[in-house]
């Protein structure tokens, strides 16, 4: 006989007692704990009781209005679809220039550049550590001469270019400005993005030249210079992508990324900049993994938290400063080498999460990326995946379709709460300054440990079968299909070394040296480094030479090795 219901709170309890319990007694469930890839336990059923604390006006708001949980634009994708921005770059500047022209011919106006490891680490192609890495993971750039080849025949007033570059971001940004000057395009017209997010490098991606604090100083130089010189250019892309790839949970990805964002806001304000002058030029970059609903909740929570901290903590007044706009890439770490075609389905689910979560642009990974850089066929299927979601699924036809779902709203609140716990912890570590808290966390290895711990836990769950990966620990096959792979021409390295040697011998060497000396003096005198870097690239000083000056003044960074 059913027990009487005393108040409305126990409706769920009543259901559990009367309907669920006898059913479970007979049938059982697939496992004891149902978890996301981030080990977040998911409950059997969400009901109205789980969103009692959610207030529509306060916590959601209408789309295009504070706190932007439902999206940054009033009509979202009914106006303009997200930008389908596929990342490309390999070999020398000649090959990448050809790929850029091919993309432009086919109607793409947003270019996205991948660099090789030496360029990313501020080294020239002839450095000892560059051996075997020149042009392999992306395009090799040593001097302005390479940059002229990369953008040959591409008018900078007609494209927007994204550069995935961090420690050497000041040099690449300077080259883009020098390129605009050369083409006669006003600097105020150039559009694009530099990633320029060093804090996440120390936390996760591990590309660096100088230590964390001077790295932040160089970023503040770019803010100060860029808001005046290139107002249409995004000066930073604050990235959680690499934090997640390094093994973090969804909450850690969001918390550490937003903390980095807050740290940059504080660095800009310490430089004496008005928050509303630079905050609209900040953008974000997130990962999208397999747990569909957790990812959607993460994106919605991201907007809500950012709007609140920008308005309430930092006092930003311009609504554009409150809006969190972001790029998404599907999770490379989720792709399997085994049965690689299965990856197309994973990418589809992840891309769907990004769209349902309101992303501004999206890169979908190619199915062969656990094996090598993508072939043209694989890259095309990845792009088609986005087009099918855009035009066939209906997901882009209404704004924030999952709002109001008991499960999604509850999960969004949970992600927000756990993220704020981390942010408050970082705030305490910095005695009330997020910038200091993040720097201390990097020095102490706090972030690195939290991420490594999550990565190890996940691997153990996979090996115990608590996390199922189809084709790997379930439904495995002995001999899978092996797709054709992209191979990099070994001549690229030789060609690059030859050109670097030629440039260094043919340039006005006293002038190049004078520019590098002037840069050194400026950094020592704590002047803004950007005007000097622009002059140095115009004198054909190399990426390695310019970054060496920074290294000489600030010292080199080496991470303490810890497991």
């Amino acid at each position: 006989m059913a027990k009487p219901v005393s108040d409305q709170e126990s409706e769920k309890a009543r259901w559990e007692q009367e309907t669920l319990k006898p059913f479970l007694a007979k049938n059982g469930e697939r496992c004891e704990r149902f978890i996301t890839v981030s080990d977040e336990e998911i409950e059997r059923l969400a009901t109205s009781e789980d969103i009692r604390d959610v207030d529509y006006e306060r916590d959601l708001g209408d789309p295009g209005e504070y706190p932007f949980t439902r999206g940054v634009y009033p009509n979202m994708y009914r106006g303009r679809l997200w930008t389908m921005r596929q990342f490309a770059g390999f070999g020398g500047p000649e090959e990448t220039n050809q790929r850029f022209k091919y993309l432009i011919e086919h109607g793409q106006t947003g270019l996205s550049t991948a660099f090789d490891m030496p360029t990313l680490m501020g080294l020239d192609s002839d450095a000892e550590l560059s051996l075997g890495e020149v042009g392999v993971e992306g395009v090799a750039i040593d001097t302005m001469h390479d940059f002229e080849i990369l953008f040959d025949g591409i008018p900078l007033d007609q494209v927007s270019t994204s550069f995935t570059i961090n420690p050497s971001a000041p040099v690449i940004y300077a080259m883009y400005i020098a390129m605009a000057d050369q083409q006669g395009v006003p600097r105020s017209m150039i559009r694009g993005t530099i990633q320029n997010d060093m804090l996440k490098e120390f936390i996760a991606q591990k590309e660096w030249v100088v230590p964390p604090r001077p790295s932040v100083d160089l970023i503040a130089d770019i803010f100060e210079y860029g808001i005046k010189e290139t107002p249409k250019f995004n000066l930073i892309s604050i990235s959680g992508y690499h934090i997640r790839e390094a093994g973090s949970t969804a909450v850690q990805e969001l918390a550490f990324t937003l903390a980095d964002g807050m740290a940059y806001v504080e660095a800009g304000m310490q430089r004496g900049l008005d928050i509303d002058d630079f905050a609209p030029q900040l953008s974000f970059f997130f990962n999208s993994h397999n747990s569909l609903f957790e990812e959607i909740a993460k994106f919605r929570a991201a907007r809500r938290i950012w709007a609140r901290v920008m308005r309430e903590r930092y006092g930003a007044k311009n609504p554009r400063s409150w809006m969190l706009k972001f790029h998404t890439q599907t999770a490379g770490c989720s792709l399997t080498e085994q049965q690689p075609l299965n990856n197309i389905i994973r990418v589809t689910i992840q891309a769907m999460a990004a769209v349902l979560g309101g992303t501004q642009s999206l890169h979908t990974n190619s199915y062969d990326e656990a094996l090598a850089l993508p072939t043209e066929d694989a890259a095309r299927i990845a792009l088609r995946t986005q087009q099918i979601i855009a035009f066939e699924s209906g997901a882009a036809d209404t704004v924030d379709p999952l709002a109001g779902s008991y499960f999604i709203e509850n999960l969004t609140s949970r992600v927000e709460e756990q993220t704020m716990d981390y942010i408050n912890r970082i705030d305490k570590m910095g005695d009330g300054s997020i910038l200091e808290g993040v720097l201390r966390g990097i020095e102490d290895g706090f972030f690195q440990r939290e991420i490594a711990q999550a990565a190890y836990l996940y691997q153990q769950q996979v090996e115990r079968g608590d996390q199922i990966i189809v084709g790997v620990n379930k439904y495995a096959m002995r001999d899978g299909m092996r797709p054709n792979l992209l191979r990099i021409d070994p001549d690229v390295e030789k060609r690059q070394l030859k050109r670097l040697k030629k440039t260094k011998s043919e340039r006005d060497n006293p002038k190049a040296k004078a520019c590098l000396d002037a840069l050194r003096e400026a950094i020592e005198a704590k002047e803004n480094s950007m005007p000097y870097i622009v002059e140095a690239v115009k004198a054909y000083a190399s990426v390695g030479e310019i970054m060496s000056v920074c290294r000489e003044v600030y010292g080199a960074y080496r991470e303490p090795a810890m497991i």
Binding site: L123, E128, G132, Q205, E207, E245, T336, A452, E463
Partner: protein, 135 residues
């Protein structure tokens, strides 16, 4: 029995250290003595560290595509230093064709994405067991 000593190393400019850290921890949990090099090492630095630490195994992690340059270089330096009894292993994104070429050069175990840490532990134990007892 003497504990197996292994140097886990990151070679070249590649900063992807998720895999190397997970494997290092699993090996330590399985009772091996693990030395981790940290990031950004040249082949010379790796071989020097392996000599100094007197390891049984060197495990090199490379996800940047430079494996066909760096692993043969390490193998060459090992031969030059008379390290015939040290096993060289690799992990990362390494295409099948490269795997067989590296195996021909004497790289013993190459593990890609999706390999389980248990598999790696068992492989090391069995390979070290095959080596003549070191004095």
């Amino acid at each position: 029995m003497k504990k197996i000593r292994i140097l886990m190393a990151k070679a070249g400019l590649d900063g992807h250290d998720r895999g190397v850290k997970v494997v290092a921890r699993a090996l330590r949990d399985a009772g091996l003595e693990v030395i981790y090099s940290g990031l950004h090492n040249t082949p010379e630095q790796i071989v020097r560290a392996a000599l100094q630490e007197d390891v049984d195994v060197i495990g090199v992690s490379i996800l940047s595509g430079a494996h066909m340059t760096l692993l043969p270089k390490i193998r060459e330096l090992m031969a030059k230093n008379g390290m015939d009894d040290v096993i060289l292993m690799g992990g990362g994104i390494i295409p099948d064709e490269d795997k067989s070429n590296l195996e021909k050069l004497g790289v013993k175990g190459l593990f890609g994405p999706g390999a389980s840490t248990q598999e790696i532990v068992e492989f090391i134990k069995s390979e070290v067991g095959k080596q003549p007892q070191r004095v």
